[in-house]
C-alpha cells in the first residue's frame, strides 16, 4: 500500500517542520514538501499532485482561503485540510464553500489533524468538533432564511420588524399616522417613528417609493 502524500503550506517554519516530524512518524504518511509562501505552494502542488494539502489561512500577502480554489484547480485530486488559528465560523463556512474537506484548529496540537487526515482519506469531511455545533446551527439558520432564494424586495421586507411591516402596509393603503395610531393603540409620534425607521431601513425617501414597493410585493391589492 502506498503512503499518503502530504504537502504542508504554512509560513511558520517552526510549526511546519514540527508537523512534518509528527506526520512522518506515522507509517502510512509521507510529507513530500513544505511551502511557506503562496507561489511556492502553487508550484509544488502542481508538481507533486499530493493526496493531501495542509493549508494555513494566514499566509504572507494572501489568504489561504483565496488560494484554495486555485490550488484545487492545479491539483484536482488533492483533498484540502484547512489548518488555522481562527476559530470564527465565517472562516469555516468560507473554507467548506471553497472546497476544503477538513478544518482543524492549530491549537489542537496535531491530534485533531491526525483524525482529519484519516477521515478525509476515507472520503469523509472532518470539522473541528468544537466548531461543529455552531456550524450546524448557522447552516440551519441560513437554510431557513435562505436569503439567496428570496427576491431583493422580499429581503428588504424581512428587514422590517412586525410593527414596521404593519405600519408600512397602513401607509401604503393610505392611512394617516393618526388613523393608524388609533387603530393599534400607539401614540401618533410612535407610529411616525416606526414609519420613518422603516423608510430609513428600506432606503426610501417618499411615500410613493413605499407604495410601489408594497405593490411589487403584492402585499396589498389596488
Amino acid at each position: 500500500m502506498s503512503k499518503t502524500r502530504i504537502l504542508i503550506i504554512d509560513d511558520h517554519q517552526l510549526l511546519s517542520s514540527g508537523l512534518a516530524m509528527l506526520l512522518c512518524a506515522e507509517k502510512d504518511l509521507e510529507v513530500t514538501g513544505q511551502a511557506d509562501r503562496p507561489e511556492t505552494a502553487l508550484r509544488l502542488a502542481e508538481e507533486q499532485q499530493p493526496d493531501i494539502l495542509l493549508l494555513d489561512i494566514s499566509l504572507p500577502g494572501r489568504s489561504g482561503l483565496d488560494l484554495l480554489p486555485e490550488l484545487l484547480a492545479r491539483s484536482p485530486q488533492s483533498r484540502v485540510i484547512m489548518m488555522t488559528m481562527h476559530e470564527e465560523q465565517q472562516y469555516l463556512k468560507k473554507a467548506i464553500e471553497g472546497g476544503a474537506k477538513g478544518f482543524v484548529l492549530k491549537k489542537g496540537g496535531g491530534t485533531d489533524l491526525m483524525y482529519a487526515i484519516r477521515a478525509v482519506m476515507q472520503g469523509d469531511t472532518y470539522i473541528q468538533p468544537s466548531m461543529l455545533a455552531d456550524f450546524i446551527k448557522t447552516g440551519e439558520e441560513s437554510s431557513e432564511g435562505s436569503p439567496e432564494n428570496l427576491s431583493e424586495d422580499e429581503q428588504r421586507w424581512r428587514m422590517l420588524s412586525q410593527r414596521e411591516q404593519q405600519i408600512v402596509l397602513g401607509v401604503a393603503k393610505g392611512y394617516t399616522s393618526r388613523e393608524m395610531a388609533e387603530g393599534i393603540f400607539l401614540s401618533e409620534k410612535t407610529v411616525a417613528t416606526y414609519r420613518s425607521r422603516a423608510m430609513t431601513k428600506l432606503g426610501f425617501e417618499s411615500r410613493a417609493d413605499l407604495v410601489e414597493f408594497v405593490l411589487r410585493l403584492r402585499k396589498i391589492d389596488i
Binding site: 465565517q90 436569503p147 429581503q155 409620534k189 410612535t190 425607521r197 430609513t200 432606503g203
Partner: protein
Amino acid sequence: MPVALISVPAFFRQAVRRVRSVLLSVPLKLKILGLALALILLFGAVTIYKVQAALSENFDAFLQEESRFVATELSYQSHDYLLINDMYGLTQMLRNTVQNRPDLRYVFVRNAEGQVVAHTFEGGFPGDLLEKISGLSPQRSEPRLLRTNEGSIWEAEAGISNGNEGAVVAGVKGDSLRRQIGVITRSLARTTLLVAIFGALLSLGLTWLITRPVTRLLEATRAVRRGDYSVRLDPAESRDELGKLMEGFNAMVGSLVIAEKARLGKEYLQRDFLHRVMAGQEGERKRIARELHDQTGQALASFMVDLKVLENAQSVNDRGQGITRLRKAITEEMEAIHDLAVALRPTVLDDLGLVPAVEMLARNFEKRHRIQVRLNFLGFLDRRLELCLETCVYRIIQEALTNIVKHAQATEVTIFLEGGEKTLRGGVEDNGRGFEPENIDQAKHMGIYGMRERIQLLGGSFHIDSDKGIGAMISFEIPIKQEKCHE
C-alpha cells in the same frame, strides 16, 4: 503713414468714458461738493446771462424813445425862447434838462437857418458833430445812432413849430442805464458766489453726515477682518438706509460671532477627541503590553518550568500527566492571545470582509450578552469594499453594540447593511429604552461623537433616531467610492 481715424461718436464715447472714470474715482465728498457747486454756478451764470440779454434787448429801444421824447418835449419849450430871442435862457433851460436827466448827453437847438443857437457842450460845440448835422427836415425824423469816441449815442431831432423855426436835437447816451445793468449783474454774481459758498458748506456738512456712517462701517469692517468681533454700530446715528445697513452689519457680526464660537467649539471638541483617541490608544497599548508581559510572558515561563519537570520525570505515568497539563495550559494561553488579537483588529475583516466580520461580531455578542441579533445584508454577496469603509462601518457597529449593552437594556437588536451602487447604507436598531441624542454631553461621551466623526471623514451622513418607547436606532449612509483610504 496711416492715420488712426476716430469717428466723432467714438471720440465722444471715449470722452464720456474718461470723464466717467475720473468721476468714479474721486471720493464721495468731492463728488457731492462738485455737484452742488456746479449746479449753483451754472444756475447763476444762466441767470446773469438771461438778465443781461433781456436788458440789452430793451436798452436800444428805450434810448431811442428817450431821445425822441426829450427832443419833442424841448421843441415846445424852446419855441418861446426863440420867439423872444432869449438865447441865454434857452441855454440855461437846456442845461437844467441835461442835468436832471442822467442819460441825456447833450441837447442843441438850431434856428431856421440851421445854425446852432444854443447847446449844452461845456467846451464849445464839437466840430466833428457839426459836420454830421444834416439839413433841417420839416418832419420828425427817426433817431439815428452816432458812433463817437464816448460810445454810441442815439440822436433824435424834433422840429420847432413843425420845423419852421428850427429844431431841437437831443443825444442820449444811456450811461446810467448801463451802469445800472452793471450793478444788477454784479449783485447777481455776488449772490451766486454767496450761494455757492453756502452751498459748498452745506454739501460739505451733508457729505459729512452721509460719509460718517460709511466711514464707521468701513472701520468696523476692517476691525472684523482683523478678527475683532466686538465692534457694534449705533444705527440711531443715521436712521436712513445707512442705518438699516448698520443694523444689517450688526446682525452679520452677531451671526459671525455665533459661527466663530461654534467653529471654536467644534475645533475644541475635535482636538479633545483626538487627544482622547490618542490617550485611548496609549491606554490600549499599555493594556496589551501588560497582558503580553504579565500573562503571556508568565505563561511561557511556566511552560519552561513544566518542560524541565517533564525532562526530569521518572515514570511514564508522570510524563503523560505532565504533558496533558502542559497542553491544556498552552491551549488556554493560545485562546487568550487570540482574543487579544481579535479585540485589537478582527482578522476576519481583512480576510473575509465586512459582512462576515459583522456576522462574527453579532454571534459573539449574542453568546456573550444573550441579546438576540437579527442580521440583514443586502447587495453584498462576497463583495469587498474599500478597507477604510469596512473598518469604519465595523467600528460603528461595534460601538453601537457596546452602547446597547451599556445603556439600552434591550432584548433584541437588528443590524442592517445594504451595499448599493453608490452608497453603503446601514444601521443598528434596538428595542431598549431609547435616549435623547440632543442631551448628550459631548465632552463626556465620545462614542456617538466618534461615530459621527468617522462617518464625516468618509463623506457620509449619520443619523440617530430614538424614541423612548421603541428604542434607539443609529443609521448611516456613506459613499462607496473613497478618494483616499488610509488603510
